[in-house]
């Protein structure tokens, strides 16, 4: 084994781990006497530096790989696969983590400051590893790293009953889902006798693997990963986790872990869905999950008055939309899934961050009525929030619209020979469109409170920190930019996938 090469391959992660330990060390010794907010600022600064250096490492690797350097050609049996695509997504995860750290630092739940940021950094690393993993062992280990850090983060407010309750729910259901995942993975290994995705794909394509076992494995993997992406009927943990955990954590669960999980879904299921003999059965199953998620998510969101819970249900619905791209089972589908995962994460991170800022100033969970007339007091924040919400709703010219457009087109285009609307995926797209219309109702309800309502504003004028403002602004710019000019990213993903 080439240890120096492994060192270079995991250099960004090593930097971040080092930064985490430096932050923990300083927090336990030098900063011990400071007040929580100062400590939080200092630890967040250290975490930011660590993440930025890590990001620089990722960028360096990206440049090396795109230059055709052979430094990173060894993937260690698929454990750390560095391609332009994986590196781009890993970089994106690091960027999102940077945003999350900025949003998290103003409102650390309790005195465990460095543990809070430490867990955020560790979950970031897990997501990075999951994206570069093309090996079942690495896959499971990194999923567990993500999950465990997020369980800890969700239950972080140990003095608040609801936070602990949400953490326990997340933990129990997540544990069950991990069991499903592991069972599926073991069947996959048993059927193919391979651990790397490459070998598994080859075994399935060549027909060497017993198809029945591949189908059983895939079914269990759909269940296990369905929990992770909060698709119905495996979504029951999501509303509580999003509502009751710390808001930056909810944002992180909804954005970072979603990107990583969808990336994995595409990598793992893409080849299986395209080639397996049993693809019909499997696609039927995923379609069922998709429809259920869209319907339950959107209907559930209709009657929510707590904004975080509303966003939680909307994230369930979005998981349903994204699965449409997966059932297309072709390259267009994969591209659209990845693209939508990116823009959904950006918008949802922005929306959660805004709510987090409002929550922390309000001192409690924001209800929809709390936003009445916010426009008059905080026009800037309102505009940013409007951008995120409209993107989630899929209003052109924001990126959410193009994301959904690509998903639906991929689904329709996957079966070009079908003419009638009742065949193929026309009906699925019709359901999705209908549900998008339903979703408009609750998104607009939130916006109406923000913009139109004539009541006297409940919220005072909100001072946001520079870091928060810059973060929100950047996210909004990205959401708008990807709406106006989506082709750049889409072509990059297409080129890297092909």
């Amino acid at each position: 084994m080439n240890y120096p090469q492994l060192f270079l391959t995991t250099l960004p992660e090593l930097i971040v781990v080092l930064g985490m330990f430096v932050a923990l060390g300083f927090d336990y010794t030098k900063y011990k006497e400071l007040d929580p907010q100062t400590r939080s600022n200092k630890v967040a600064a250290l975490s930011t530096i660590a993440l930025m250096l890590g990001l620089a490492g990722v960028v360096w690797q990206f440049l090396q790989v795109t230059d055709g350097s052979k430094t990173f050609s060894n993937s260690f049996n698929g454990q750390v696969v560095l391609t332009p695509l994986t590196l781009w997504f890993k970089g994106l995860i690091f960027v999102l983590a940077l945003f999350v750290v900025q949003f998290a630092k103003t409102d650390v739940p309790n005195k465990h400051v460095s543990e809070y940021f430490g867990l955020i950094l560790l979950s970031t690393l897990g997501m990075g590893f999951l994206i570069t993993a093309q090996n079942l062992i690495m896959l499971f280990v990194s999923i567990e790293l993500i999950s465990l850090s997020l369980y800890g983060l969700t239950a972080f407010q140990t003095d608040k009953k609801f936070s602990v309750e949400a953490g326990i729910k997340y933990f129990t259901i997540g544990g069950v889902s991990s069991a499903f995942l592991l069972f599926g993975l073991s069947y996959l290994f048993g059927a193919t006798n391979e651990l790397s995705f490459e070998g598994i794909t080859a075994a399935i394509t060549s027909g060497a693997a017993p198809q029945n076992y591949v189908l059983i494995a895939s079914a269990f993997l759909v269940v296990g990963l369905g929990f992770k992406i909060a698709a119905a009927p495996f979504h029951l943990w999501a509303p509580d986790t999003y509502q009751c955990g710390p808001v930056p954590v909810a944002a992180w669960v909804a954005s970072g872990s979603k990107i990583a999980s969808f990336f994995l879904l595409v990598q793992l299921f893409g080849p299986v869905l395209e080639t397996s003999e049993q693809k019909e059965t499997l696609i039927a199953g995923i379609v069922l999950v998709s429809v259920l998620s869209m319907v339950l998510g959107n209907i559930g969101a209709l009657r929510q008055s707590c904004v975080k819970r509303l966003l939680a249900y909307s994230s369930i619905a979005h998981a349903g939309y994204i699965l449409i791209g997966l059932v297309a089972a072709n390259e267009d589908g994969s591209i659209s899934v990845l693209f939508y995962a990116v823009i959904y994460s950006l918008a949802t991170l922005g929306a959660f961050a805004t709510i987090g800022i409002i929550d922390s100033r309000l001192g409690r969970e924001a209800q929809i009525d709390d936003f009445n007339g916010t426009w008059k007091q905080n026009p800037g924040l309102s505009i940013l929030f409007m951008i995120f919400i409209l993107s989630l709703a899929g209003i052109p010219p924001l990126s959410g619209f193009f994301g959904k457009f690509y998903l639906f087109m991929a689904a329709i285009g996957s079966q070009p020979e079908i003419a009638s609307w009742s065949e193929g995926f026309y009906w699925l797209v019709a359901v999705a469109l209908l549900m998008s219309a339903v979703s408009l109702f609750y998104y607009v309800k939130v916006l109406k409170a923000f913009l139109v309502s004539a009541d006297t504003p409940k919220l005072p004028s909100i001072q946001i920190t520079k870091a928060e403002g810059a973060g929100l602004l950047l996210l909004a710019v990205l959401v708008v930019y990807l709406g106006i000019y989506p082709t750049g990213l889409v072509e990059f993903i297409a080129a890297s996938l092909g």
Binding site: M1, Y3, L6, T9, T10, V17, F76, N77, Q79, V80, N110, K111, H112, E115, Y116, G118, L119, L122, S123, L125, G126, F129, N135, I137, M138, V141, S142, E144, L145, L148, S149, Y151, G152, A155, F156, Q157, T158, D159, N193, P210, N212, Y213, L215, I216, A219
Partner: protein, 166 residues
């Protein structure tokens, strides 16, 4: 061998079911230990002595003792008698699970040709092979496991210390 497998499997399932169904938590822990032991037995049947011994060492020897330790420190070992052990929809859940098992899994498994994997049949790794595999090709994964344990440790520190301060 097959008979031994079924006996072990039955004990394992029995232990798992009892762990969920028993109202007294201490008894539930002993059921879990029964399950762990049966699992160790299954590993021995699979000729994985190392894993079996590690199973005993880690799960029965440490995890079980930790669970007992934690439970003995709690005041109520029998739980709230007014609470039902089954949730309202248990019948439906059982029905759906049973239907899925019968309609989906059983046909798939019985239809499959039971081909023995020639590569696996003479696969008899020693502890040394295991160590070399972990330290050589899978070193990256082992590193991530180290991070995983760090995350667990940090989360445990937060969960264990009271938020109001020592």
């Amino acid at each position: 061998m097959t008979v031994a497998f079924y006996i072990m499997a039955a004990i394992a399932v029995l232990g798992a079911v009892m762990a969920i169904a028993l109202r007294n938590v201490v008894h539930a822990v002993f059921s879990v230990l029964l399950f762990f032991s049966a699992l160790a037995g299954l590993f021995i049947l699979l000729l994985a002595e190392f894993i079996a011994v590690v199973q005993v060492l880690v799960y029965i020897g440490s995890v079980g003792i930790l669970m007992l330790f934690a439970i003995m420190l709690t005041t109520k070992v029998t739980g709230d008698p007014t609470r039902k052990l089954l949730s309202r929809g248990w019948a439906w859940g059982g029905l759906v699970s049973g239907a899925l098992l019968l309609a989906f899994l059983v046909p798939l498994i019985t239809q499959s040709k039971s081909e023995s994997n020639s590569q696996l049949s003479n696969f008899n790794p020693s502890v040394k092979d295991l160590g070399l595999t972990l330290m050589d090709p899978y070193f990256a994964s082992v590193g991530v496991i180290a991070l995983l344990l760090t995350a667990g440790l940090i989360a445990a520190v937060v969960a264990a210390s009271s938020a109001s301060g020592e």
